[in-house]
């Protein structure tokens, strides 16, 4: 490892612009003639639109255009779609309701877009949006996940009778029932995983520019995957052919999943730019983000776990209702199915698993992937029921887990996944030691003397990352392949540009991806630049989500580096009159091993471009591209331990310590990995303690601002005690597993296990706010 190569704590190259205010986010973009958009949104959760009167609005000061869904439809713009087909257990395809980018006849959640107004200033656009008169005839509303399937529940879409999108099964039901028949003990639980609002601090924004001279569109947008955006905007929504549409995702202020999807606003602003003849910018305010960004989680589950007389797990049964909101967002169907139920085996050798998932429509914002996407829901079910089982069986929660760990790899679970590597004892041991788990009871007694309730909770999670082998996901219903592309361009003086289809919105790719080239050629990291986020600069890519940039995106870079290295060696061998096999590239020099013959790296690059003296038949230039399609998912896992102290008078939970021992495989930059873990933990702990999304019975979102939705603040969190163990991933060239979501996946059950341990009441839903905990304490009295 060099000081700037793989494994080094290299400070981030991108930081300079961010700490000096020179970051360039979508809202910072400005083009000549640019105007501002505001959306008229439905104030009702469910209503028929009986009329839209735009005449007053059109005459307001500064107004350039007021456009409706009828005009959008007339121009051939398509409905929004979900790109992952799920089949119900009876073989029928999922029931996708029509989602018009601007509602024309029915609105189905508060925030549903109805009209776009374009005006000189944002204030004028909003003034005019208020003057648009939409007449509604209110319809009955269903909001709660558990009520969507009730007989007589209000019906959202004619395409989905009974609000049922799919009724999907995984695993072997008969084998699982048989396993339960012989059980010595069965633990049963009802588990709710509440709805979350992602809340990247940069609100979504877009700037659509139509160039009539070229019949060409440019879309600046807050996206985690600009190429996927272009593909979907072109192929499904008919905005423009791909060669006539450039999508740019510049600096993006956090994503967490919410900026994967293609939302109505991007395509409407592009279309509106052509309609009005002016560039159209829209920036969400925070309340719009709450109303109209895709939300996360929202599962209601019943689970049963069967043990034999030696406390070995025999089988697991899970029934889940997943709320997908009012419409099916781009990847919504994959989240509660292949990203959830396939992880229900956790770190344990479970011979039989059966899970059933019913996805439902409700009059709420669409739900899709949010940091972890399905895997936090799986680990919450499994790790809550494991801890509960240990309490019922009166055995140590750590030892019950250890007894059931998988120890041989590869391991085929009953729910599709084939775990390629792991060492669960190692992360558990590291976590227990760091947390002084053994010494806990003494600390509990000491806290009791101070009138505090102290508790400790564990979570041993696994996740599937690096999504994913294209053929595998294709067979499971994905509409796209999930490979990644890279191009390595060595310039004539030896500096390097790496073009990648991955997108950095905080993950530090400009540094970590450059570390790969530095490691390979020994060139200074400042001579390596990363290019991403622009469909005109980078060829097709699949973007960043599912902790895939390392395992998939970097692997593509490695493949391209391999090709560049091979060509550079050929050139050097030719110039140095040596055998290609004897050439090594190290510390910025290209040498013949065992001799003093060498060339500086830049001379090899220069030779490739002068092309005066290349091996016979070789093309000039030193630039190679590669696509990498993974052979398997990757399986990060770990052990999270939370210790809390609760004030029984107020119900306030203080996290005394939080330990995370994770196995991410090979690590490129430990500093950046630690940052990813910290952020994930904050989101997981936020879910466990603070973040609750509340709709009232009429479908009004009560938590539609930071005044009511509790975002984790510095004072809510401890400093974290984190560490890693390493079993390299055998499925990719770098041995990387991925680290972006682990914190959010492992932590919620650890926190809730700790609180329920402290208060001796296992009936506790997230978020465990002071009021919720205080009520649970009263109930246990």
């Amino acid at each position: 490892m060099g000081v700037e190569g793989i494994g080094a704590r290299v400070l981030r190259k991108e930081d300079k612009r961010f700490i000096t205010g020179k970051g360039r986010y979508t809202d910072d973009m400005s083009v000549p003639g640019m105007k501002h958009a505001a959306f008229v949104r439905s104030p009702h959760a469910h209503a028929k639109i009986t009329g839209i009167d735009v005449e007053t609005a059109k005459k307001m000061p500064g107004v350039i255009g007021v456009l409706t869904g009828a005009e959008l439809k007339a121009d051939g713009i398509g409905n929004l779609i979900c790109g992952w087909m799920i089949h119900s257990k009876d073989g029928t395809p999922m029931k996708m309701g029509a989602w018009s980018p601007l509602a024309t006849d029915t609105v189905r959640y508060v925030g549903d877009a109805v009209v776009i107004v374009v005006a000189d200033t944002k204030g004028q656009a909003r003034d005019a949006a208020e003057a648009v008169d939409v007449s509604y005839e209110e319809l009955p509303v269903v909001v709660k996940t558990a009520e969507a399937l009730n007989e007589g529940a209000p019906q959202l879409h004619p395409e989905a009778p009974g609000n049922l999108i799919f009724d999907w099964d995984i695993g072997d039901e008969k084998a699982t029932n048989d396993a339960f028949a012989g059980a010595a003990h069965v633990t049963k639980m009802d588990i709710v995983n509440g709805r979350l609002v992602p809340n990247a601090i940069e609100p979504r924004a877009t700037l659509g520019v139509y160039d009539a001279g070229e019949d060409h569109y440019t879309c600046w947008t807050t996206s985690q995957n600009p190429h996927v955006a272009r593909l979907v905007l072109s192929a499904f929504y008919n905005v423009a052919p791909e060669n006539k549409l450039r999508v740019i995702a510049p600096d993006v202020g956090g994503g967490f999943g919410s900026k994967i999807f293609i939302y109505p606003e991007e395509l409407i602003c592009l279309w509106a730019s052509k309609k009005t003849g002016v560039p159209v910018k829209w920036v969400a305010d925070r309340t719009e983000s709450f109303l109209a960004d895709a939300h996360g989680r929202d599962h209601v589950t019943h689970a049963e776990l069967a043990f034999d007389k030696d406390n070995k797990i025999l089988g697991l049964k899970v029934q889940t209702i997943a709320n997908l909101g009012a419409y099916m967002s781009l990847f919504s169907s994959s989240v509660p199915t292949y990203l959830y139920a396939t992880l229900l085996s956790g770190q344990y050798d479970i011979p039989a698993i059966h899970a059933n998932v019913k996805a439902v429509y409700t009059n709420t914002a669409p739900v899709d992937a949010y940091r972890g996407a399905g895997r936090p829901e799986a680990s919450f079910v499994l790790e809550r029921i494991m801890e509960t089982a240990a309490r019922e069986l009166k055995v140590s929660p750590a030892e019950l887990r250890r007894k059931n760990f998988i120890r041989t790899f590869p391991h085929q679970t009953p729910v599709i996944m084939n775990y390629d590597a792991g060492d669960f004892d190692a992360t558990l041991d590291a976590g227990l030691k760091a947390a002084d788990y053994e010494g806990f009871e003494k600390r509990r007694e000491e806290a009791a003397k101070r009138g505090k309730l102290r508790g400790i909770g564990l979570s041993c999670y696994i996740e599937a990352c690096g999504i994913a082998p294209s053929a595998a996901v294709g067979s499971l219903g994905a509409g796209v392949g999930l490979w990644e592309s890279a191009e390595v361009r060595v310039n004539a003086i030896g500096t390097i540009e790496i073009l990648t289809g991955s997108h950095s919105h905080g993950q530090g790719h400009e540094t970590t991806f450059a570390q790969l080239a530095t490691e390979r050629f020994g060139v200074p990291i400042d001579s390596v630049s990363i290019v991403h986020g622009d469909t005109d600069k980078v060829q097709m890519g699949m973007g960043t989500y599912g902790s895939r940039s390392g395992a998939v995106g970097m692997s593509a870079v490695v493949k391209a580096l391999d090709k560049v290295e091979a060509k550079a060696k050929k050139i050097a061998a030719h110039l140095l009159e040596a055998d290609e096999a004897d050439i090594e590239i190290k510390d910025g020099d290209v040498r013949v091993v065992g001799t003093d013959k060498s060339l500086p790296w830049f001379q090899v690059a220069l030779a490739a471009y002068t092309a005066h003296n290349l091996p016979s038949g070789m093309e000039p230039g030193l630039k190679e591209g590669a696509f990498y399609d993974p052979s398997n998912f990757t399986f990060p896992g770990g052990c999270h331990i939370c210790e809390v102290e609760i004030d029984p008078e107020t119900g306030v939970t203080e996290i005394i310590q939080f330990v995370a021992a994770d196995d991410f495989g090979k690590i490129i930059n430990p500093m950046i990995v630690e940052g990813q873990v910290h952020g994930g933990l904050a989101q997981g702990i936020g879910q466990a303690l603070l973040e609750g999304t509340h709709y009232d019975d009429t479908g009004q979102l009560l938590t539609a601002s930071f005044m009511d939705y509790t975002m984790p603040r510095a004072q809510n969190l401890p400093s974290f005690n984190i560490m890693t163990t390493e079993t390299p991933c055998p499925s990719n060239p770098l041995g990387i597993k991925g680290c972006g979501e682990a914190g959010a996946i492992g932590s919620p059950p650890a926190v809730i296990n700790a609180i329920t341990d402290a208060i001796h009441n296992n009936n506790l839903t997230m978020p465990a706010t002071p009021q919720t905990v205080w009520n649970a304490i009263q109930a246990a009295k």
Partner: protein, 269 residues
């Protein structure tokens, strides 16, 4: 935000005159509530009359145990006033925990009490301290000033000039903040001067700030936290929302009251 007309007043008299001329004006001090309310289009004053730069409304003066705080004195300036901290640390402490640091740099005591948000901190202090509110037209006791939710005795063109109070022997303020907004979900200010004990509650009352007379009576005979053990706070007069039910707020009021008394009992002043 709807369009408005901004005016900057140089004196209390000019401010009152500008208000008289405005169609539907509002006084603007720190703006920590008014500006966000306007941003959400929930308020649309035709005119804003900015009081923040009127010198006569600024500053804290301490004369013996008598305290005068000018209406546009920021929470930060109150919280860091050393003279005030010497005789009434409860009020500097309270000011040091309003909102967040940026709010404390802009927000003012006059703005806070004129707005009388049921979850604001200052009203409980002024009520418990039996403070006098001096306006451009008169002086009136806090108990007559605070009327209900967002409601005070102020006339449309009447401007809060200052608040005055005599520092009590001892006092303390304990608040339980709403975890999202950081406003008080229950805040209790306890003031003790000789045998005179006053307890005021903010954040919890259905009708805004109120005195907790049962607690005052219980503490009169025995000024210790245990005197409140059997205190029953009536949930029927308390706010109830998704953040805190009335029962939970009743519990918080009692706990915060006991903690304020404990703090007073445990320190010399």
């Amino acid at each position: 935000m709807y369009e408005t007309q901004y005016h900057r007043a140089a004196s209390v008299e000019e401010a009152a005159r500008l208000m008289g001329e405005a169609e539907d004006g509002k006084f603007l001090a720190g703006g920590m509530t008014l500006i966000p309310t306007m941003k959400q289009r929930l308020a649309s004053p035709s005119d804003l009359i900015d009081l923040r730069r009127i010198e006569a409304l600024k500053g804290v003066t301490v004369d013996g145990r008598t305290v005068r705080i000018g209406a546009v004195t920021t929470h930060y300036d109150v919280s860091t006033n050393e003279e005030l901290a010497k005789i009434c640390p409860a009020i500097t402490n309270l000011a040091g925990h309003i909102g967040d640091p940026q709010v404390r740099n802009m927000g003012t005591i006059g703005g806070s009490i004129a707005n009388n948000d049921p979850a604001a901190d200052y009203p409980s202090a002024l009520l418990a301290l039996d403070a006098t509110i001096i306006t451009s037209q008169r002086s009136l006791p806090a108990s007559d000033f605070f009327i209900g939710l967002f409601e005070t005795a102020l006339q449309p063109d009447e401007i809060v000039v200052a608040v005055e109070f005599v520092a009590p022997d001892k006092a303390a303020y304990k608040k339980f903040p709403n975890p999202a907004s950081l406003y008080a979900m229950a805040g209790v200010f306890v003031a003790k001067s000789g045998d005179n004990i006053r307890v005021a509650v903010t954040g919890a009352g259905e009708g805004g700030v109120f005195r907790l007379k049962d607690a005052e009576a219980a503490l009169a005979g025995n000024f210790s936290p245990s005197a409140l053990d059997s205190l029953a706070v009536d949930p029927d007069v308390l706010l109830s929302d998704m953040h805190a039910s009335a029962d939970y707020r009743a519990n918080l009021v009692k706990v915060m009251a006991k903690r304020a008394v404990a703090e007073i009992s445990n320190r010399p002043m």
